[in-house]
């Protein structure tokens, strides 16, 4: 059901771990519905120098975390903010319909981590129109 890319990122996830004293941390999901994703950012000159994740969730959630962190590493915060879950899924060679929400977690965790950084730095958080902690499991088709 998963593409080779998904399996690769699930089996060999990039950027697993934590960053001590991270500049920004974002966590979405809740254990009740089974998925939690936490992202750590190291930011220097508005550039994401390093990024790590921890994820409690399915294969697609772990692969999305891995791919999303790869995609924002070295990018500006603005660029990282614009990363959509669709872009993550596409980069993974697609996700099954019932697993699209797992990529949404990644988008959400990044947004939260960026805003955590902004708040810590006295900046106004950017506005997010989605609530990433909602029940997001959904039945495809």
């Amino acid at each position: 059901m998963y593409s080779d890319k998904v399996m690769d990122h699930f089996m060999n996830p990039r950027n697993v771990g934590e960053i001590e004293n991270a500049d920004g941390i974002g966590e979405v999901g809740n254990p009740k519905c089974g998925d939690i994703m936490r992202i750590y950012l190291d930011v220097e000159d508005n550039i994401i120098k390093d990024v790590k994740f921890k994820t409690f969730g399915c294969g697609a959630a772990i692969a999305s975390s891995s791919m999303a962190t790869e995609l924002i590493k070295g990018k500006t915060l603005e660029e990282a903010w614009r990363l959509t879950n669709k872009a993550v899924a596409e980069a993974l060679g697609g996700l099954p319909a019932i697993k699209m929400h797992c990529s949404v977690l990644a988008e959400g965790a990044i947004h939260k981590a960026i805003n955590d950084y902004r708040i810590k730095h006295g900046l106004e958080p950017w506005k997010d129109d989605k609530n990433y902690d909602d029940d997001h499991h959904d039945i495809g088709e």
């Binding site: 699930f10 697993v16 921890k54 969730g57």
Partner: protein, 389 residues
Amino acid sequence: MDSKRIVYMDHAATTYVKPEVLEAMLPYFTEQFGNPSSVYTLGRKSRSAIEEAREKVAKAIGALPEEIYFTGGGSEADNWAIKGAAFANRAKGNHIITSKIEHHAILNTCEFLEKQGFEVTYVSVDENGVIDLEELKNSITDKTILISIMFANNEIGTIQPIEEIGRIAKERGIIFHTDAVQAIGNVEINVKDMNIDMLSLAAHKFYGPKGVGALYVRKGIRIENLIHGGGQERKRRGGTENLPGIVGLGKAIELATADIEGHNARIRALRDRLLNGILEKIPYTKLNGHPEKRLPGNINVSFKFIEGEGLLLLLDQSGIYGSTGSACSSGSLDPSHVLLAIGLPHEIAHGSLRLSLGDKNTEEDVDYVLDVLPKIVQRLRDMSPLYEN
């Protein structure tokens, strides 16, 4: 990800067909294919083959051959039993009692009947998955026409006190159905001694073919047909008989019930070796289901801090096949209704793994799983934000 070893431990989902069973089936595809309803030789031979299979099924559960009706699987048998009894007894009452941990073939059928004006009570289970007999008794009303309680649970393996439920139903003159899809070959069953009025089974759970099952209906119990049609199965189940499937079911149930004790002793020893190893080697792990009253091949454990689908995928990479009650694996919002019914919190239910052992599993298989599984669990825990080392 490296090994070529394959360890199939998902026998509760489905089994391979045993070579003897397939061999028994083969002539009925290409040579001995006649319609059993035909009067000519070819048809009469098919008829004998079916009646022979019927006798085998009857013998396996202590029923009479004329009480056995072949179906297209366990779900059809379950649907037929429940809807059949409901529609046939509507004049007598509209209340059905079942449990919270039944298979969806029962639960979704009950839900359908609720839309048709029936009332259904879903009895609770304790933390081991055993039905609450007091609650069962107390929920009986004048309108109760059917009690349906599964013999053994497919996820956590818990075996129910079927004889006692049979007694309760009999005392109150209520039809008693049991879904024995998981129990056949693993528990000695005698429908007469146990006061079972209807019983569902499916061949592919005991090394028979998929797509064929049976419903036992005690003589004298009237149920409405589910598949209306031709005069097959003494006019109670229409459709050209699945001849090779039925022959395979007969052969498989004969093999599966020939030596239940011996089979169980062997499987249970393997299972306990695996279970004890898991509990020993992997911290923050909990057994689900009853510690003793459980199917001999069933292991159901929850690993804290991790989710089951990822676990399955990693096991798969090592050639190990199991299953999980995680929602992530099913695409639904909630994890297994069975795990929730025994009181597991959602996040623990998500980390559940079922390994169900079968006839070909060996000690080497067990040792291989005991080697691979702890590493995989650790690997996922290391990725988990819930796990603090």
